[in-house]
Symmetry: C2
Subunit: 626 residues, 2 copies
């Protein structure tokens, strides 16, 4: 076995691999990026490649099915070349450069920013100072001279870290006393530079329990440079925040969780930075939006008391700390703004989402829902805001669902089942071969299975149907949505049970919160739906399964990932950061989970659409008309 | 040669030495401290021990004289045992535990503090907070809960470092919500502790160009716990600030100089801390007083522009940085206050000295002089203050003088010469065998040599005197003050020339500064003299050599080391720190060194007492009466 081997791609390109290096890593080194949501741990099964010829060894087969294995499919992250390999990379395994869906939102971002009257004022501010050089008659200290020039610009109360002062005397003279001075939002001196019109970038980060999204923004004009997203690598320690908190209290657990998510962000940024020939030093600010637990873990703060009654976070409002403290691979002095949280289970992501929705500026009573790994709900208007979390679980983001995935290329996003033949027609994101099913696809699928009589009102498969689509699987009955001879995409009875539990938790939360403030569903004039699957959600079908209240369709607005939009807004402007803080201050948090009434509401909602069909007049009519 | 050897002291005590370890180090490891002003580099010649028997090797003989070497005297820092040694340690080589002279000032300190109406308010403040524990109805974040409790005490604008937050949740619960909260003068949160009435110490540090003095203070009542002093190890790179600045601009020079002085302080603190069984963590604040260059070097800041016209320091007013940044071996979170400087050559030590003198509070016109390594002068009253530095050089601190030393045990502090026999009578600090001559002894000696006709008005030795005390030495003529058969103490013509230059610079500075503000010497109603030799200075004789103006003796007040007193005051109280800042603000700095008139004044003063004897009526009368 030689020390160096080669990998030949179908394009004819030949890449060099080093002994002991896995295929995923070797390809990445040569700029060929594969989807690897789990970070190359053999867990997500996304980095599948086809070995056409050559010898190799395999560490793990992961979730590959027997027929895939026999046809030469391997997981690149688990495969070690032992001689020259000729490989083929299936389309679904290739990482799309940027994220087409997110990039298409660029105009929405700038339009929204404008509609909010946002003024560009980054966390790191630059001001040009023309300082009078010292003379024998005026030879005060350099710092005192700089302070005077700063105060003449009307900027007061600057603090000067030791590091800044160590280079001050030389920097001032190098710049010949005409300096560009940078300081943070909270008036900490950061840099002096002689260069004018230097590049300046910022990063908006949405840390979800399931996914991490990064936006690179040109701070000169707010334009979106690129986007990256991946699964949150903390997933290996559990799908929900509770299991992560438990792991965080184990020895080394907190550091481990922190490193995982920080590495995810750094790993997303690295190829973007390379692609656009950006110096990491030119990324001068960042905004972090995440739920309360994610925000704690990102900063390495003990989240233990979030889980214990009376559910208190270490903090809700985060000071500006720097990139070095966060261990982010951008300019180490960059200030990082963390979206303020409201309570242990209503975090900065919800505050960010609300900011993006603008409901806090309106008179009408609105309902804001973020259906991500958890389900958070806000009800209110410009006068008042009431909020709560309901443990919906991460299934709509693909977690805990056999072939679940995020709403990216290859995901089944919509399903139509012929009620006679029970044959499904699938709509797949990117019009490619289906590789999984995302949140909106799940809701569609359950609705169709329910309306076609494949499953009952409790989500259980009916027996003796005349179709081969329903079969017995490892976990019990399952419905086969697609099969290409290599890999089947199914929805199992266990999957359906999980989804019904999630939708019940969300509906119960909405109902109880409305009762708390003395309103009914029909009083809600606007419903904003945020979350990874938001863009593809079929409202009618979400009403049919009883996840959303039975209200006129025009009242619903899909926001998609509103957390990252809010993070972008806060990255751009001080006004937006102030507005986010006002939102967090205004929100009254209700602890639904400790309420016995919540359990009653939840149990009533564990049904398609609900045990009280009177709450769903449209669905009742539909079922009667069948 | 074995790996381990033994050192036997005359007391019978036997200590173990390790191969390759010098004697100084071996003794220190066993708690036997020798005087080693140079830090064990073979330069100061102070760590002399007598080898009675046993084999050893020597790296350098340093400044030992041939008869010393032949009688078995070695420098402990240059001596490596090769088998069991029996040694004797001369009294003058033993480090006195504490510093008797400084400790005797303890009452003066507390009296002064009281007379200034100082209130104890350290840089690190403690406040006890009784926080209402969280409940389900009030489960805001721990930080928000803490902030509320802090604000209820009337304390606003607290900043919270990341490190503080990482332990917050557990600290609050460990203390059961009754916490002692510590924060800095500039409102940075530092600690939370459950312990009440914990010990709290502070350190006042005077960094002189020649010497470093450390005071350990009990912050509960301001009492002096212990004192340490040593030569500034930077001396190996030059005696004055200019040579140090030049070395700082060489590669690695700045770091080297910084490490040297920081190590000096740490080395002074270590035995004190051990002696009093104090935990370094309990030292929670420190104040640094030094001239502008010393302050820059202590903080690792480039002092290059101090030396270049128009003589600008990087900064005069130092922010509060912490012990970790300073690399001080005390509690790493301790805030460090640096006395504010006025200009490149009038530093925080002068501001500290002025604070201790109280002249800035009085109506009468006073003159403040600090005669240390440099000579700094301040003239003024409570309305105005004018200041300048005159390059007096470090000779009064013992540097550049053959047998020069600081005013500690063994120093000749006063001299009387019989005008007939030319035999001297010496007064030695600690009534011990003389081991050198300190600043006040030098002034005495020159006066006596001048009045006895041994030297002329230019400081040159007269020829053909009937005494063996005057002899030809390595550097030309010299006067032998003491001789015990082992080691002679002399003053050479080169020494005398250096001393006359220093006194001329000081006198010229006073004269010119008075002329600048339109006053004459006789307008000065009070003269404060600070500096290492201050306590022993014979005013009459300092007037005779023309160092001090010829004014009534009762106008002179000797302050001793006023810089450390000012540092102590600032360590104790916020009021004192504010007052120090007001003093620094009020002082108008005059650059004498660039004035041609200064050179004229200086040249006129290079004479005993002065070329214009009319300025010294008392001395003129004395000379006429001879």
């Amino acid at each position: 076995m030689s020390e160096k081997m080669f990998i030949r791609l179908p394009t004819g390109e030949t890449l060099e691999a080093v002994k002991g290096e896995n295929l995923l890593h070797a390809l990445k080194r040569h700029g060929v990026y594969l989807v690897a949501s789990c970070g190359g741990k053999g867990l997500c099964g996304k980095c599948r490649v086809n070995i056409i010829s050559g010898k190799y060894s395999i560490k793990s087969k992961g979730k590959l099915e027997p027929d895939e294995i026999s046809s030469g499919i391997v997981l690149a992250c688990q495969t070690y070349p032992e001689e020259e390999l000729i490989i083929d990379i299936p389309k679904e395994s290739k990482l799309v450069i940027g994220d087409i869906i997110e990039i298409s939102r660029a105009k929405y971002f700038s339009d929204l920013f404008r509609s909010l009257n946002g003024k560009i004022s980054p966390l790191l501010r630059w001001v040009t100072l023309e300082i009078t050089p010292p003379t024998l008659n005026n030879n005060i200290g350099d710092l005192e001279r700089l302070k005077k020039a700063i105060e003449e610009k009307g900027i007061k109360g600057m603090s000067f870290p030791h590091e800044f002062i160590t280079t001050l005397a030389d920097s001032l003279r190098d710049a010949e006393w005409k300096v560009n001075f940078a300081y943070t939002d909270d008036h900490k001196a950061i840099f002096i530079s002689s260069i004018k019109d230097k590049k300046s970038y910022g990063v908006a980060v949405d840390i979800g329990t399931t996914t991490v999204v990064v936006y690179l923004v040109d701070m000169k004009d707010g334009s979106l440079v690129d986007v990256g997203s991946t699964y949150n690598s903390q997933i290996r320690y559990g799908d929900d925040v509770i299991t992560r908190i438990i792991y965080a209290t184990e020895s080394g657990g907190l550091d481990d969780l922190r490193d995982k998510v920080v590495n995810d962000i750094n790993n997303l940024l690295r190829p973007i930075i390379e692609r656009h020939s950006i110096e990491p030093e030119d990324i001068e600010s960042a905004v972090i939006s995440g739920n309360t637990t994610m925000s704690h873990l990102f900063w390495g703060l003990n989240p233990a008391y979030i889980r214990e009654e009376p559910y208190t976070p270490a903090l809700n409002t985060f000071p500006l700390w720097d990139a070095e403290t966060a261990k982010l691979d951008i300019n180490l002095r960059s200030p990082l703004y963390t979206l303020p949280c409201v309570s242990s289970y209503v975090g900065g992501d919800i505050v960010a989402g609300l900011l993006a929705s603008k409901m806090h500026r309106n008179d009408e009573i609105s309902l804001f829902m973020d259906i991500g790994t958890n389900g958070e709900i806000v009800i209110g208007n410009k006068e008042w805001l009431i909020t709560s979390a309901c443990s919906a679980g991460p299934c709509f983001e693909g977690s805990g669902i056999r072939h679940g995935m995020r709403a990216t290329n290859g995901a089944i996003e919509a399903v139509k089942i012929d009620q006679r033949t029970l044959e499904p027609v699938l709509s797949v994101i990117g019009n490619s071969k289906p590789i999984g099913i995302c949140g909106s696809g799940m809701i569609d699928a359950i609705t169709e299975l329910f309306l076609s009589g494949v499953i009952d009102q409790k989500g259980k498969f009916l027996m003796g149907l005349d179709t081969e689509r329903v079969r017995g699987g490892i976990e019990g009955p399952e419905f086969v949505f697609s099969s290409d001879g290599q890999r089947d995409i199914v929805l199992t009875e266990v999957d359906i049970e999980n989804i019904i539990r999630a939708k019940a938790a969300i509906y119960a939360g909405i109902s109880l919160l409305l009762k708390k403030v003395g309103f009914t569903h029909s009083d809600v004039e606007r419903i904003y739906i945020a979350g990874g699957f938001g863009n593809y959600l079929n409202i009618d079908k979400a009403v049919i399964i009883g996840m959303l209240p039975d209200l006129p369709k025009e009242r619903f607005i899909l926001l998609g990932n509103a957390s990252i939009v809010g993070a972008y807004l806060c990255l751009m402007s001080e006004n937006m950061r102030k507005e986010a803080e006002e939102i967090a201050q205004k929100m009254t948090n209700i602890e639904l989970s400790v309420s016995r009434r919540f359990m009653d509401e939840y149990l009533s909602a564990l049904f398609l659409p609900h045990t009280d069909i009177g709450l769903f007049p449209t669905v009742g009519k539909l079922l009667r008309n069948k």
